[in-house]
């Protein structure tokens, strides 16, 4: 457990993806089975046991500490698990105690040698968190700390009534970091910035394998993944995936730039609308008992089946659909803002299902029955897809239409006016067009020149830099996270109100320029945050590009941007000429208004 705790501890502070990978791979390489397998399971959220509630942790610490000291500590640390991990009373075994200095003990007596290992006699402490207990006491704490395997296997069989005592025993045996990791594990949610995909990539690196290879066999594996490690380390054959509904690594598109069109022949391509929803893979297959099972995966392979039970009955035919998850009301696609109400929900209520009817718009078919279609050209897959959807004949699943175009000018016009080019009433949910080569095989990752996405032009506003914060990792000496604002009428004339934060979009050279500007024009510092001068005639105007706008009661300005980034530095523009909040409010689409009325009706 302590080694796993060290790994989590390091990951929690490490911002860089590649460095995280290295830390995980290194851990997996130097840790024995089955511990490393359970660690991989923990990182990929593949462990299932009843999680402990915060209330239980509170009770455990209340039995052991002075309430005043706990309150002061919790107030200072701000996180329950961390407070408990740090102040859990255990005998201090690491440090030696100083020798007593009686009258007449001379100067040379203790010099030069480290303090002895024996503490002075002292009054027994009345409370556990007080003076350290004398040696020989706390004998119950001499057990070796539990391994991760101990913890995971015990938790999976432990009755609810036994949990408090077992947890307390482990907390006694672990050190601060170990206790912190244990509490994270048992309360659910490691939150160390590692996705399941990243953990699998790190595992694949053990055997110089591609993450996709691990992904393919993953659904057939279970913790502690002995056969996976055996294969990765060259000790055994590749495990066979017997899962009827495996995830297939997805194929992604490149953003197309104007000069990319040079040399592209329109007849080589099929165009479709790019929908503003969630890319998913809907897979159905027959299990050993010949029953249909269906699963939904996010584009990173996360199993999101539980969030959309209303779609499952429609997945009656064995196959694997690549498509967009949307919310449809009266046959009309709703905006992403509406779809968002269905995302990241812990429970899916009947009301939610009724108010936000889910829909799958299909644009590719990766498997039909037992046949893998991925090595067929896209045009052939498309034909199979059309046939498949027709056979399925389900109101919840339809076909994403293709866009007829003769040349690039025609497609440009369609992109500018989706409503007039066939998207009709769904045009608001279109965020651009997709271009797919007719002969493109379904290749995982982002292969060059196969699929292109051609998004709508983003919204652009001019905003004023208000606050800057240092970045992480390579950017830790740069002020690279920016909060920007626009003008609005305040109590005492015009004032800036923050409307968003962005930390990319600029070049390295521009980053240097902004960093220099921030350092020279700081008006106040709060920890890592600097207030940067933002007066009508003094300050830096940033051109900010973003994809959409949403009402947000959480933001002072009342609006929140989607995907904001810095598109240009407007050194030439005085802050007084930056945009106003009214401009943003006009951009709020009718959808956002519809959404706020429905959600207010829902409460």
């Amino acid at each position: 457990m302590n080694r796993f705790a060290e790994l989590l501890d390091r990951l929690a502070y490490e911002p860089g993806r590649n460095n995280k990978l290295r830390l995980i791979t290194n851990y997996l390489r130097s840790t024995k089975d089955p511990d490393r397998g359970y660690a991989l399971a923990a990182l990929t959220a593949a462990l299932s046991f009843k999680h402990a509630k915060a209330g239980l942790i509170r009770e455990l610490i209340a039995e052991r500490t002075d309430p005043v000291l706990f309150a002061l500590s919790y107030d200072y640390v701000g996180d329950l698990s961390e407070t408990v991990a740090l102040m859990w009373p255990t005998p201090r075994t690491h440090a030696s105690s100083p020798p007593p200095c009686g009258e007449g003990s001379g100067v040379g007596g203790h010099n030069g040698s480290l303090a002895s290992d024996h503490p002075p006699p002292q009054p027994s402490p009345a409370r556990g968190e007080g003076a350290r207990p004398a040696w020989g006491k706390g004998a119950g704490h001499n057990n070796p700390p539990p391994t991760l395997t101990d913890v995971v296997t015990t938790l999976s069989t432990l009755g609810k009534a036994e949990l408090p005592a077992q947890l307390a025993r482990w907390l006694d045996e672990l050190d601060e970091t170990g206790r912190w990791a244990l509490l994270k594990l048992v309360t659910g949610g490691l939150r160390v910035g590692v996705s399941a995909r990243l953990a699998k990539t790190a595992a694949a690196a053990l055997g110089d394998k591609d993450a996709h290879d691990v992904e393919l066999i993953w659904p057939g594996l279970a913790p502690p993944y002995l056969e996976l490690f055996a294969w990765l380390e060259g000790r055994a054959d590749k495990p066979v995936n017997l899962d009827p509904t495996p995830f297939r690594p997805v194929m992604l598109a490149h953003a197309i730039a104007d000069n990319d069109f040079v040399g592209l022949d329109p007849t080589d391509y099929i165009a479709e609308w790019k929908w503003d929803g969630i890319r998913i893979q809907a897979v159905s297959g027959r299990d050993a008992e010949d029953n249909i099972v269906a699963r939904l995966y996010s584009r990173t392979g996360e199993d999101i089946t539980g969030s959309f039970p209303d779609l499952l009955p429609s997945l009656r035919l064995p196959g694997a659909i690549d498509g967009e998850l949307l919310v449809l009301r009266d046959g009309r696609v709703q905006s992403f803002n509406v779809l968002q109400q269905r995302l990241n929900r812990k429970t899916v209520t009947p009301k939610l299902i009724k108010d936000y009817p889910i829909h799958l718009r299909a644009y590719d078919l990766l498997g039909d029955g037992d046949t893998d279609l991925r090595m067929l050209p896209f045009a052939e897959r498309r034909a199979r897809l059309e046939n498949f959807i027709a056979r399925l004949d389900d109101p919840r699943i339809d076909l994403s239409p293709t866009i007829a175009f003769a040349d690039w000018d025609a497609l440009t016009a369609a992109r500018r006016d989706p409503a007039g080019a066939g998207a009709s009433l769904d045009a608001d949910a279109v965020e651009g067009v997709m271009l797919k080569r007719r002969d493109a095989l379904y290749l995982p990752g982002r292969p060059k020149g196969q699929w292109w996405k051609w998004k709508h032009d983003p919204h652009i506003i001019d905003a004023v830099l208000m606050y800057a914060q240092r970045g992480h990792g390579k950017r830790s000496s740069y002020y690279s996270d920016y909060t920007f604002g626009v003008w609005t009428e305040g109590d005492s004339g015009d004032q800036l109100v923050p409307v968003g934060k962005a930390y990319f979009g600029f070049t390295d050279e521009e980053l240097l320029q902004i960093d220099r500007f921030v350092r020279r024009n700081t008006t106040e510092k709060f920890g890592p945050v600097r207030h940067v001068v933002h007066e009508p005639d003094q300050g830096l105007v940033l051109e900010v590009a973003f994809e959409g706008l949403q009402r947000s009661p959480r933001h002072k300005s009342g609006v929140a941007m989607r995907f904001p980034r810095i598109s240009r530095l407007r050194w030439d523009k005085p802050p007084r000429e930056a945009d106003r909040l009214e401009t943003l409010e006009r951009m709020l689409t009718a959808d956002a208004t519809i959404q706020s009325t429905t959600s207010s009706g829902g409460h």
């Binding site: 007593p100 303090a115 402490p125």
Partner: protein, 346 residues
């Protein structure tokens, strides 16, 4: 004589009227006893200064030869008479030359511990328990969440990171008097014998430590070293420099910070630290409480830090305790700004 007739908090600091001196005064006074060389305790401009030889030397390095009108060195365990009181210095284990001051008047003994730690430190004389009637303790880490653990284990964390990321530079933020030298000594104890690089602000004090017989191995100034050559190396720098543009001379640096504050995640994250090292030159909660108990003192005065929790704990132990409202003392890791001597990038 009552304890507060012997020592009393005053605007300038802890004042001993019967002895005619102040301990670690924050304003200039006629006669000052200095517990250790950190700048919030050892300030320039006093009339006469009594301190250990090391503390006097460190003040001289910081402030120049004329930092006081006159100075007198005192050894650990040595006793001198000042006015109506007897004064004795004992090792505080905080940094090189750090001392607790025991003031005895008639039968009453008060120990002002200054900053102290009871954890092992290869760069200074270990802390001693001094039995007394009144114990004046600091409370920098006076909350039960602060338990600093084993400093060697933290250094191992640093070394395994160096081994795992050989193409990156490791930058360790550490206060330039005491912490930096202790970290270097611990790195050497762990068996790392490659040269260790130093920020310019570290050089003077570190070579003073070496001149006092503290073994630190081969040290090099980082200034002028090519970026590529710093891959896989360890550099010690003042904490504030590790988030400064100064770091751009290093290849993809891993930012470490050696401080007791690193025990709390929010503090480490706030500073953008990637490798927090819980290494403190102050006693942790267990250290504070066990030391208080071991002195046998019936009355505890708590100075700078988290006084509330420690005073509360003393009360639960049946001890008389009160916070001393002394202002002007910080913890050396807490302040962001570099002193003038440190920011000069020599």
């Amino acid at each position: 004589m009552r304890p507060h007739d012997i020592l009393i908090p005053a605007a300038a600091g802890l004042c001993c009227k019967p002895g005619g001196f102040h301990i670690d005064p924050v304003r200039t006074v006629e006669r000052a006893l200095i517990t250790h060389g950190h700048s919030d305790h050892a300030r320039p401009g006093h009339g006469a200064v009594l301190a250990t030889q090391e503390t006097l030397d460190l003040m001289r390095l910081r402030y120049g030869d004329n930092f006081a009108r006159s100075t007198q060195a005192i050894g650990y365990g040595e006793e001198i008479r000042l006015g109506d009181v007897r004064v004795r210095f004992h090792p505080a284990g905080h940094v090189l030359g750090s001392a607790q001051v025991a003031v005895t008047c008639e039968k009453t003994c008060i120990v002002a511990a200054g900053d102290y730690k009871d954890a092992p430190d290869p760069t200074c004389t270990p802390f001693e328990i001094v039995p007394c009637d009144v114990f004046i303790t600091e409370a920098t880490f006076g909350l039960p969440v602060f338990r600093h653990g084993n400093a060697s284990a933290e250094v191992n964390k640093l070394l395994s990171s160096v081994a795992l990321f050989p193409e990156r530079a490791h930058l360790v933020g550490a206060y330039s008097l005491g912490k930096a030298q202790r970290v270097i000594a611990l790195i050497r104890q762990a068996g790392y014998d490659a040269p260790i690089y130093l920020h310019g602000a570290m050089e003077t004090i570190t070579s003073y430590y070496q001149s006092r017989g503290v073994e630190l191995g081969e040290l090099r100034p980082v200034k002028g070293v090519r970026k590529a050559d710093l891959a896989g190396t360890i550099t010690l720098a003042p904490p504030s420099a590790t988030s400064d543009i100064w770091t751009r001379r290093f290849p993809d640096p891993v930012t470490a910070f050696a401080s007791g504050w690193m025990r709390v995640r929010a503090r480490a994250r706030q500073r953008g630290v990637e490798l927090p090292l819980v290494i403190s030159d102050h006693a942790d909660w267990d250290g504070l409480t066990s030391t208080i108990a071991a002195t046998g003192a019936g009355e505890i005065w708590v100075t700078h830090g988290q006084e509330d929790a420690l005073v509360h704990w003393c009360t639960t132990q049946g001890l008389v305790a009160r916070p001393l409202a002394l202002v002007g003392y910080g913890d050396e890791d807490g302040d962001e700004a570099l002193s003038a001597s440190e920011s000069a990038e020599a």
